[in-house]
Symmetry: C2
Subunit: 175 residues, 2 copies
C-alpha cells in the first residue's frame, strides 16, 4: 500500500488550479467536443468533479467517521451534473471547483487528525465494507482519471488529422 | 478534419505551464514511480517532451517547408532522454520545457504565415508522405498523450489502495 495523506493532499490541492490553467480561455471547440453520443465533453467533466466534491468524498468520509458501517453511504448519482450543465459557464465551473475543493481540504484536515482513523470503515451501497484510506485514495485517483479523460476527449478531436501518426499516439488507442 | 492553427497553439502554449503547476513541488514518490520495469516515470516523460521540442517538431516542419519530400526526416530517437536523465532536476526540466516550447511557438508563427503551407509534405522515414498539417496535429496530440501518461503513471501507484473502487476508475484499466 502506498497511500500517504500528505502526498494525497499534494494531488488534491493541485488538480483544480491545474485544470483552470489548462482549460481557461480555450476555444469552445475544445470545450464542447466529446467522444460520441452519450459521452461527456470537458465542461461536463468539470460539472461531475464539482458534484463529487459536494456529494461524495467529504460526506462519505463523515459517515465513516461518525456512523461507521451502520449507515450505508447514500448512492452518488454520477450523472446529476448533466441536469444543470447549461446554467454555468466553464469559467464559473472552474471557479466553483477550486472553491469547493479548497473548503473540502480544510475539512479533511479537520476530520483526520490521526492516521489510525484511516482504518475506520463504512458501508458502500454496492460493494460493502470500505475504509477511509480506500475512500481517500479513490478521491486522488478519481482526479487523475478525469484529467486523463479530459485530454483523451480533446485528443479524439484530431484523430483523423494526425494521419499515419495515430499508431504512435497511445491516447488514440481505444480501450 | 478539425485542425486549426490558432486552436492548436492554444494547447501547445498551455501544456508546459500546466505541467509545471501540477508537478512542481510534488514528493519524489510521485515523480519517480513508474508502471513497472522499462516504463517511464513522470520525470522521464518531461525529458522526452524536451527532446521532442529540440529534435522533432520544428526541425521536421523546417524540412517540410524548405526541402519537401526530397529529404526524409532524420529519425527521432524516442529514448534519447534516458541517457541524460540524471543530470537535471525536475524543476530544471520543467523550466527547460517551458523555455524551448516558447521559442518553438515563436518559430512556428514565423514559419507558417499562410494556411496553404499546411498542405506541404515531407517524407517520414517509416510511413512516407506526411503533411505539415498532420505534423502539427500530432504535436498537439503528443502533448495530450503524455499528459494522459503522466496521470496514468501516478494513478498506478494507488492501484491497490483504492480497493473495490478500482472497477470504477477507468485510468486503472489496462489497455
Amino acid at each position: 500500500m502506498q497511500f500517504n495523506l500528505k502526498e494525497a493532499i499534494e494531488i488534491l490541492e493541485r488538480t483544480p488550479q491545474t485544470l483552470d490553467y489548462f482549460l481557461s480561455g480555450l476555444s469552445e471547440d475544445w470545450l464542447l467536443c466529446n467522444e460520441g453520443q452519450g459521452t461527456w465533453n470537458v465542461t461536463e467533466v468539470i460539472g461531475h468533479l464539482i458534484d463529487a466534491e459536494k456529494y461524495n468524498w467529504i460526506p462519505r468520509l463523515e459517515i465513516i467517521l461518525q456512523k461507521g458501517e451502520n449507515t450505508p453511504f447514500p448512492p452518488f448519482n454520477r450523472f446529476s451534473h448533466l441536469n444543470d450543465d447549461l446554467k454555468m459557464s466553464m469559467q464559473q465551473k472552474l471557479f466553483v471547483f477550486k472553491s469547493v475543493r479548497k473548503q473540502n481540504l480544510i475539512k479533511l484536515k479537520e476530520l483526520i487528525t490521526d492516521e489510525v482513523q484511516l482504518k475506520l470503515t463504512g458501508q458502500h451501497p454496492e460493494f460493502g465494507s470500505v475504509s477511509a484510506r480506500e475512500l481517500l485514495s479513490t478521491w486522488v485517483v478519481h482526479d487523475l482519471t478525469h484529467m486523463a479523460q479530459i485530454v483523451r476527449v480533446m485528443a479524439e478531436r484530431y484523430r483523423e488529422d494526425v494521419g499515419e501518426w495515430s499508431n504512435y499516439l497511445g491516447i488514440l488507442k481505444k480501450i
